[in-house]
C-alpha cells in the first residue's frame, strides 16, 4: 500500500503555516512567560535556596519548566489544529479526501509536535541566559523531548476531536495539565514531600515525564529513567490506540 505523501505534506505545512501566522501566540507568549519563571524562581529566589540533588535550584527547574510549555502548547496546538476545521466545517475536505488515519496524524500531530520541539529548544536557549545548566545525556534529552511533544500532540488531537466548544480546549491545558505539571515536581524534588504524598504523587503521570527529562540533564532523578521512559511509551501507545478507535468508529467525525 502506498502512502499519500502529498496529503501528509499538505497538512503538515498548512499547520506549520498556521503557527507562523500566529507566531506571537504560539512561540513568543510561552517563551516570555517561561522567562518570567526563570527570572523569579531561577535568578531571584533560586539564588537564596540550597542545592537540590547537588544542582542549583535555578538549574533544577529548567527541565520541568520547559516541559510545562511543551505539554500545554502541544495539547493546545494539536487540539486547535483539528478542532478549527470541525468548528468551521472545513473538516468535510479531510473526510472526503483519500487520506488514512496515519497520514492525517502524521500531518496534524507531526506539525504540532514539530512546533513544540522548536518551542522547547527556544525555551532551553532562553533559559541559558538566566541560569547556567548542563545536559549530560543530550541524545536522551532529544528523544524525551520529541516523544513527549508527540504524546501530548496526540493527546491534543484527541481533545480536539472530543471537545464540543472552545471552552474545553482551554480548560484541559489550564485546569488539568498545568496543575499536574506544577504538582509533578517541576519546582521540587518529590523527596521533599511528606512520605504519604510521595506515594500519591506517583499517580500523577507527569511526574515520570519530568523526572525522565531531568535525568537527561543531570543524570539523577526521583524515578528510575527506564520507568519514566516506559511510562512515556505507555501514554503514547494509549493515545494512538484511542485515535485509531476514533477513526474506526467515526466518533464525532463522521455521522
Amino acid at each position: 500500500m502506498t502512502i499519500n505523501l502529498h496529503a501528509v505534506r499538505a497538512i503538515y505545512f498548512f499547520e506549520l503555516h498556521r503557527t507562523w501566522r500566529t507566531l506571537f501566540q504560539s512561540i513568543a507568549a510561552p517563551v516570555i512567560s517561561t522567562s518570567l519563571y526563570f527570572i523569579v524562581f531561577g535568578s531571584a529566589i533560586g539564588s537564596k535556596m540550597t542545592l537540590v540533588d547537588g544542582v542549583s535550584y535555578g538549574a533544577f527547574i529548567v527541565p520541568g519548566l520547559t516541559l510545562l510549555s511543551i505539554l500545554t502548547e502541544s495539547t493546545s496546538n494539536a487540539s486547535f489544529g483539528i478542532y478549527l476545521p470541525r468548528f468551521t466545517g472545513t473538516i468535510y475536505e479531510l473526510l472526503s479526501a483519500p487520506v488514512s488515519v496515519v497520514e492525517a496524524l502524521l500531518g496534524y500531530v507531526g506539525a504540532a509536535a514539530t512546533k513544540s520541539v522548536i518551542l522547547g529548544t527556544i525555551i532551553l536557549i532562553t533559559a541559558r541566559l538566566f541560569v547556567p545548566y548542563e545536559v549530560v545525556h543530550p541524545i536522551w534529552a532529544a528523544i524525551f523531548l520529541v516523544m513527549i511533544a508527540l504524546t501530548f500532540s496526540l493527546f491534543g488531537f484527541i481533545l480536539g476531536v472530543w471537545a464540543d466548544g472552545f471552552e474545553k480546549l482551554q480548560v484541559v491545558p489550564l485546569l488539568i495539565i498545568t496543575p499536574l505539571t506544577f504538582l509533578g515536581g517541576t519546582f521540587y524534588s518529590i523527596k521533599m514531600l511528606p512520605e504519604f504524598w510521595q506515594h500519591v504523587t506517583l499517580f500523577n503521570p507527569i511526574v515520570y515525564l519530568i523526572n525522565g527529562f531531568r535525568w537527561t540533564f543531570y543524570g539523577k532523578a526521583d524515578v528510575n529513567v527506564m520507568v519514566s521512559f516506559g511510562m512515556t511509551l505507555v501514554f503514547m501507545t494509549a493515545c494512538v490506540a484511542l485515535i485509531a478507535w476514533i477513526f474506526k468508529t467515526g466518533y464525532r467525525l463522521r455521522n
Binding site: N4, H6, A7, R9, A10, I11, F14, H17, R18, R21, T88, G89, T90, Y92, E93, L94, L95, S96, A97, P98, V99, S100, G250, R254, N255
Partner: protein, 308 residues
C-alpha cells in the same frame, strides 16, 4: 450502460434512529449531468455524503469509477470532487494556499499551472493572494468550487451550488459546468429549483423521505412534473368564466382568469396561445398575461400526496 457511480441497496440509519436513506438503487452515467431534486430533509445531502465519505453507510454498496467507496476508498475518493452546501472555508488563508492545499490533500503533486487555470476559469485569478475572509459570499462559493476541481476529479458533486448566489455567478456556474462536461467530467448536483435542473441536467432523479421516487430523462420528467400557472388580467370584469374549450378559473373580483398547464416547451406555449385566441374570439379583452412555473416544492406536495 457505462455507470460511473453505481449505488445498490444503500441504507443509512442515523444513531437517532432516523432512516435517512432507504434501499437506494441508482446509477449515474459516465459524462452526464445528473440533478438530484428533493425537498429539504429528503436525503440529498446524506446521499452525497455517503458517496464522498462524509457519512458512513449502514448497509449496501457504492462503486465510484470502478472502486468500492469503503474497501478501496483511496482510489474512489481520488476521483471525486465535492462542493459542499455550507460555505466552510479557512478564513485566514489565501485563495491560492487553500486551493493548493486541496490538491495535495487529494494526493496530487503540486501543479501551479493547473491551479492557475482553475482560478482563471472561475474568475478568481486576481483574488489569488486575498485572504478568504475578505471575499464576498459568491466569491467564497467559487473558492469551494476551485478546491473541488484542484485535483482534476472525474466526478464532481455540487450540493446546492446556486443557493444564495447572484444571477451573474449562477450563469458563470452553468457555463463552467458545461465546460467540465465537455472535458468528460460527470456532474451530480442537488437543487431545489426545477429551472436549474431544467437548464443543465441530462437526467433528473427525485428523492423524498430517503427514497428515490423516480429517475428520468429531463424532457420526460418536465412533461410529467412541469406545471405552469397562467394568469390573465382582464380589461373589464366578467361575471362568469368565459365559454371556451379550456377550463379557466375566474377570480372573485372578476378581474383575472387563471389556468394551469402541464408539460414543457412548445406544448405549453401552444396551450397559452390557444387560450388567448379563444378569448379574442369571444372579444374578451385583456391587459396582461403572466406565466409562472410551479416550484418544485409544490410539485412534491402533489407527488407525495398522490403516492400516499
Amino acid at each position: 450502460m457505462d455507470s460511473v457511480i453505481s449505488i445498490r441497496q444503500l441504507d443509512k440509519t442515523y444513531k437517532s434512529g432516523h432512516k435517512a436513506l432507504k434501499s437506494i438503487d441508482l446509477d449515474i452515467r459516465r459524462g452526464e449531468i445528473f440533478a438530484l431534486l428533493g425537498p429539504n430533509g429528503a436525503g440529498k445531502t446524506t446521499l452525497i455524503g455517503v458517496v464522498c465519505g462524509l457519512v458512513k453507510l449502514t448497509s449496501g454498496t457504492v462503486i465510484a469509477d470502478g472502486h468500492d467507496i469503503t474497501k478501496d476508498y483511496r482510489a474512489a475518493r481520488a476521483k471525486i470532487g465535492l462542493v459542499p452546501q455550507e460555505l466552510a472555508t479557512d478564513m485566514f488563508e489565501t485563495v491560492w494556499a487553500t486551493v493548493s492545499f486541496s490538491r495535495g490533500l487529494f494526493g496530487m503533486a503540486p501543479n501551479p499551472a493547473h491551479i492557475e487555470k482553475v482560478l482563471k476559469d472561475l474568475s478568481l485569478w486576481d483574488k489569488k493572494d486575498n485572504k478568504i475572509a475578505t471575499l464576498s459570499g459568491g466569491m467564497k462559493r467559487r473558492v469551494l468550487i476551485a478546491k473541488a476541481l484542484s485535483h482534476e476529479p472525474k466526478i464532481l458533486f455540487l450540493d446546492e451550488p446556486t443557493a444564495g448566489v447572484d444571477v451573474e455567478l449562477r450563469r458563470d456556474m452553468w457555463k463552467m459546468i458545461g465546460r467540465l462536461r465537455e472535458q468528460g467530467v460527470t456532474i451530480i448536483l442537488t437543487t431545489h429549483y426545477i429551472e436549474e435542473a431544467e437548464e443543465m441536467a441530462d437526467r433528473i432523479g427525485v428523492i423524498n423521505k430517503g427514497e428515490i421516487m423516480l429517475v428520468e430523462e429531463k424532457h420526460a420528467l418536465m412533461k410529467k412534473l412541469g406545471q405552469t400557472r397562467v394568469t390573465i388580467g382582464l380589461k373589464s370584469k366578467l361575471d362568469a368564466p368565459p365559454d371556451i374549450p379550456q377550463a379557466l378559473d375566474l377570480s372573485e373580483d372578476g378581474e383575472t382568469l387563471t389556468f394551469t398547464l402541464t408539460g414543457e416547451g412548445d406544448a405549453e406555449d401552444a396551450g397559452v396561445a390557444d387560450v388567448l385566441k379563444a378569448l379574442m374570439e369571444k372579444q374578451i379583452d385583456f391587459k396582461s398575461v403572466s406565466t409562472k412555473r410551479s416550484s418544485l416544492e409544490d410539485i412534491f406536495v402533489d407527488l407525495v400526496e398522490k403516492k400516499s
